[in-house]
Every structure is written in structure tokens, then in C-alpha cells.
């Protein structure tokens, strides 16, 4: 059961690879969707443009990952069937990205915490023995470098801005912290993929992530929250209350007129 682009000397569980591609694709898609909600409603026109730009990058990544997921699965599902015809429990995105967009501080802190992981993650994934994942990572890495720079600058501006902006940003950070553990999570399937050189060990990113976060929080005069209990659910499809609402909206046209071409 080998995926076409994987080094053929590897014994890879196709289902595990499928789940991984979904995890990456769903996470990008849902965050891209949340960012797209800002278009026309951002605090300044420049951010209407910038947030759309970040959203577009993520939706582009999602399309690549989901297309690949469909190929790996081998049941003829394309990116749209995977995006529009699965229910919330079948989604494998990180919980952090499905949370409502909140205020501008919440959106930017989330983008920052996520990009600070995603950039080094994709840098490592460029070495994946799965050629497709490596190629997607090579493209996404350049995009994430911009996402990290843009969101870091805003976290600093907001944290070190006014009393109100500082409070909003610290609150956002406090709310989001409990969702950061999931980025580093693995299970037996992911461990097998790490062993096989397909997935990068997220533990190896911890130090880089910590450093990015600490640097930016220090400049932003924000306090790093105590690490306590971490929310979890992406690996098993146990989501927050928000995902099914998001999907109900996103999938509404496809569900109302199933099986048509658009």
C-alpha cells in the first residue's frame, strides 16, 4: 500500500498518510476561511488586503494538500469533495484555527502563534521523503515567512501600543495558549510517519518556536502564559462548537445542490 510519490523502499500505511494530508490541508483551509471573513471589514484598508493575501496563501496550500489526500486515499475524491462533503468529525484541523476570528488582536496573535510553528515546520518538511509533501512545503515555506513577519510586527505594535491594545492582545494570547499544544502533538500513526522520514518530528521545532514566541512577546511587552492543560482533538476529529457552524456555511451551496459542477 504505497503512495505513488513515496520512496518505494518505505512501508507506509496509506491511511496514516491520508490522515496527515488531511491534517495539513484542513488546518490551512479553515484558517484561510477565517481570514477571508475579514475582507471588507478589517480595521484599515491595508489589512483588508493583507489578510486576504494570507488567506489566499492558506487556501492555496489547502488545495494542494487536499488534492494529494484524495490521491493517497485512492477513492477518487478530489479537493472539493474532501472540503465540501465531509462533516466536522471527519475534519482533522487544529482546534486553534477554527475558533471565531475574534477581534484584530485575536486574529493576529493566532496567526503569529501558528506561523511561528508553521515556518520551521515547512522548512523541515522540505526534506520529507514524500516528494509531494516536500514540494508543497517548499512553496508554503516562503509564504509562511511572510505570514510570520506580518503577524509578528502586528503583535509587537498591538502589545506595545496603547493600554487598550495591550490588554486585548494579552487576553488573546491567554485565550489561545491552551490551543498551542496541539501543534506539537503526535499519535502512533504520526510517529510511524516520523520514523519513515515522511513527517517531521514536531518536538524538534519546539525550541525554534519558543524562541520566536519569546522574542516577539518581549518586544510586545506581553507576558507568556503559564503552560497548563492543553486542548486537543484534531487527531481524533473532536472539535470545538465552532467548526460545524463554519462548515454549514462553507458547504451550503454544495450541500444544497449536490453533485454539480461549479
Amino acid at each position: 500500500m504505497l503512495a505513488a510519490n513515496v520512496d518505494e523502499t518505505l512501508e507506509i500505511d496509506r491511511e496514516a498518510l491520508f490522515q496527515l494530508a488531511l491534517r495539513l490541508g484542513d488546518t490551512s483551509l479553515i484558517l484561510g476561511h477565517r481570514l477571508s471573513e475579514w475582507a471588507g471589514h478589517a480595521p484599515i484598508l491595508d489589512e483588508d488586503i493583507a489578510l486576504s493575501n494570507l488567506g489566499l496563501d492558506l487556501i492555496g496550500q489547502a488545495r494542494s494538500f487536499l488534492t494529494y489526500a484524495g490521491e493517497v486515499e485512492g477513492r477518487g475524491r478530489d479537493e472539493d469533495q474532501l472540503a465540501y462533503m465531509r462533516n466536522a468529525p471527519e475534519y482533522r484541523n487544529l482546534l486553534m484555527v477554527e475558533l471565531p476570528r475574534g477581534d484584530f488582536a485575536f486574529t493576529m496573535v493566532r496567526q503569529f502563534l501558528f506561523s511561528a510553528f508553521q515556518l520551521p515546520f515547512y522548512q523541515q518538511m522540505m526534506q520529507s521523503r514524500d516528494k509531494t509533501l516536500a514540494a508543497i512545503a517548499a512553496k508554503a515555506e516562503k509564504e509562511m515567512a511572510y505570514h510570520l513577519r506580518h503577524s509578528s510586527q502586528w503583535v509587537v505594535r498591538l502589545g506595545d501600543g496603547t493600554k487598550e491594545s495591550h490588554e486585548r492582545t494579552q487576553n488573546a494570547l491567554n485565550s489561545l495558549w491552551t490551543y498551542t499544544g496541539e501543534m506539537f502533538e503526535t499519535d502512533a500513526s504520526l510517529k510511524a510517519l516520523i520514523e519513515a522520514g515522511i513527517y517531521c518530528d514536531p518536538a524538534s521545532i519546539r525550541e525554534t518556536w519558543n524562541k520566536s514566541v519569546d522574542d516577539v512577546l518581549q518586544q510586545a511587552t506581553l507576558t507568556r502564559p503559564e503552560t497548563g492543560w492543553m486542548q486537543s482533538g484534531a487527531l481524533t476529529g473532536r472539535h470545538s462548537e465552532h467548526l460545524s457552524h463554519l462548515l454549514a456555511e462553507m458547504q451550503s451551496v454544495q450541500r444544497a445542490y449536490p453533485g454539480l459542477k461549479w
Binding site: 476561511h33 480595521p43 496603547t162 459542477k261 461549479w262
Partner: protein, 333 residues
């Protein structure tokens, strides 16, 4: 698009102060010679005001225009459509920014223009006061609304004011792309199921008349654009542009297999033009006066974005000040 300002009564106030007559003669000679007027050149005050009004209205239209399409951002039926719609909306924000910059060269700030928009002092194109009720509307807006915009804007690439003309070159390229995307959405619907085709037809039924009203009142009722014509800000009359648009669009509708919702529409073999029925200018005036289906919602959405975002702007300014102070302290030390 969005050239309603050309029909604004204030435009006719092309008075030139005494002592400026000679400058005005030289200015008009340059206009007549098709020279571009640049921001630092002398220009009559009324020319400046007309351009500020028109360019800021155009920018505001791009910005308000993000809202009706943004209504479908989260519901686009495929990931490809989702990406192209978001990219289109991003382009529109970019046009807004670009046009604000062009207007700023005339001595008005972006903040002032944004303020004029949310306080209702500056207009935006009335077309965006109509709702987007189905996915087909995203196709129709691209095809008809952006199509009408392009008809209006291509002559603006030759507008006498350099920054506006140059901005229009780029804007027109992107708008043409949007128009093709819109048409392609409708083509997919019209090649699809009966329900999809009905969705497309229903959408055209709602958008056709508002789209052809985008060219403004008939020339006989639009005496105010004479001055803009003389200044070569406006190059082609409302009715000529409208006819050009209709002649281009009707065959495209037929190719899609869609009906134009105008029982009087017929081709005149002699003139080679499509003749159309009577436009309901009462509706146009009502929407212009603020009574369109979405006038209040559109402004409320932009006002909310501005109000909700105030703290962000304040934070950015406060941080910039702190940074400047830190840099100064460092230098002093």
C-alpha cells in the same frame, strides 16, 4: 466604473478666479494638446475639486464593492472559486488604495476621504446597494458590473490627469480579468443543471437594469458633464458608453442562453445597434437618494469596521511614537 461624480451638479461650477485667466488659457491649451496634467502643475481649483470628487468616489466604490462579493467569500462552492473570489476582493481593496493615493496627489488625505465615505459626504457607486442573493450573483457582478466598469474606465486611461490615467491602466487590466472570471462562473452555471441555469437567469433579471444605469442619466439629462468633457476627464458620453456596453453584452448573454430582461430589446439592422427599452430612472434616483435595498447596511458595515478598528490605528500610532522616542534616546545616549 463609478463615474456618477461626473453627473454631479457641483461639477458645473467651473469658475476661474480673476488673475488666473492667463494660467487657465495655458492650462486649456495643454489639455487641448492632449498633454498630461501632473500633481505639481497649475490647475484650476474646480478641475482639482472635480478630480478629487471623482477619484475618491471611485476609490470608495472599490471599497464598498468588497462587501456584496465578500458576502459569498465563505460560501463559494469550490476551493478554486473561493480562491479567485478572495483574490478579486483583494484586487478591489488594492484599487481603492491605489486610487486613494492618486487622489492624495491633489491635496486630500486618505483619512479625510475615508471620513467622507462613512459620514455619507462622499458617494460610491449605487450598484453596490443591491444585494447578492445567490452564487450566480458573483458571476453576474463580474460580467455585468465589472463589464460596465471597464467600459467607463477604458476612456479614463486617457484622462488628462496623469496619476488617475496611469492608475486606470492597471485597474482596467485587473477588471478585465474579473470580467472574464465572472463570465466563466455563469458559463459553468449555464452548462450545468436546470437549477443552475435558472439561478443564472434569476440573477441577470435582477442585475441587468441596475448595470445599464451605471452609465448615468441620458445625455439629454446630463448637462453637467460638459465641463468634464472639455477637461478631458470624461471622454465619451453616458449614452454612447451605455450603447457600447449593450452592444457588447447582448450577444454574450445569448451565447450563455440567457434572456435579457427587456422585452423591447431588438437588433436594428440599419444602425447595427441593439435598441433597448425605457430605463426606470425613478429606481435609480431612489437608490441614489439612499433608499436602495442595502444603502444603510453597506455604510453601517464600513462604519463598524472603522469604529471597531479605531483602537488598532491608535495602537499603531502609539507604538510608532514609542519607537521614535526610543531611537531618539538611543542617539542622545
Amino acid at each position: 466604473m463609478y463615474t456618477q461624480a461626473l453627473n454631479d451638479p457641483a461639477n458645473k461650477a467651473a469658475t476661474v478666479a480673476e488673475g488666473e485667466e492667463e494660467q487657465n488659457v495655458r492650462f486649456m491649451a495643454r489639455i487641448d494638446a492632449d498633454e498630461k496634467i501632473e500633481p505639481n502643475d497649475w490647475m484650476p481649483d474646480s478641475y482639482r475639486k472635480t478630480l478629487i470628487r471623482q477619484i475618491s468616489q471611485h476609490a470608495n466604490s472599490e471599497i464598498i464593492g468588497m462587501l456584496p462579493e465578500g458576502n459569498w467569500n465563505t460560501r463559494a462552492p469550490t476551493l478554486r472559486r473561493k480562491a479567485t473570489l478572495l483574490a478579486k476582493i483583494q484586487d478591489e481593496g488594492g484599487h481603492g488604495l491605489y486610487l486613494y493615493s492618486a487622489a492624495e496627489t491633489l491635496g486630500i488625505s486618505r483619512e479625510e476621504m475615508e471620513h467622507q465615505l462613512i459620514t455619507g459626504k462622499a458617494r460610491y457607486s449605487s450598484i453596490f446597494n443591491y444585494p447578492t442573493l445567490s452564487w450566480a450573483d458573483i458571476g453576474t457582478i463580474g460580467w455585468l458590473v465589472d463589464g460596465a466598469a471597464i467600459m467607463n474606465q477604458i476612456p479614463l486611461c486617457r484622462c488628462s490627469f496623469g496619476p488617475y490615467a496611469r492608475a486606470m491602466v492597471r485597474v482596467c487590466k485587473e477588471e478585465s480579468f474579473h470580467q472574464r472570471q465572472g463570465y466563466e462562473i455563469l458559463l459553468a452555471l449555464c452548462n450545468g443543471s436546470d437549477e443552475q441555469k435558472a439561478m443564472a437567469q434569476e440573477s441577470i433579471n435582477r442585475w441587468w437594469w441596475p448595470s445599464i444605469m451605471m452609465f448615468g442619466p441620458h445625455d439629454t439629462d446630463s448637462t453637467h458633464s460638459d465641463q468634464s468633457m472639455a477637461w478631458k476627464i470624461k471622454r465619451i458620453s453616458n449614452d454612447d458608453l451605455r450603447q457600447k456596453f449593450i452592444d457588447a453584452t447582448v450577444p454574450q448573454a445569448h451565447f450563455l442562453g440567457l434572456e435579457i430582461p427587456d422585452p423591447d430589446m431588438k437588433f436594428n439592422q440599419e444602425t447595427g445597434h441593439w435598441e433597448f427599452g425605457k430605463i426606470d430612472w425613478d429606481e435609480f434616483k431612489q437608490v441614489l437618494a439612499g433608499n436602495g435595498p442595502c444603502n444603510r447596511e453597506r455604510l453601517a458595515a464600513r462604519t463598524k469596521a472603522f469604529e471597531d478598528g479605531k483602537w488598532v490605528q491608535e495602537a499603531a500610532l502609539a507604538h510608532a511614537k514609542k519607537q521614535a522616542a526610543r531611537a531618539a534616546n538611543k542617539e542622545a545616549a
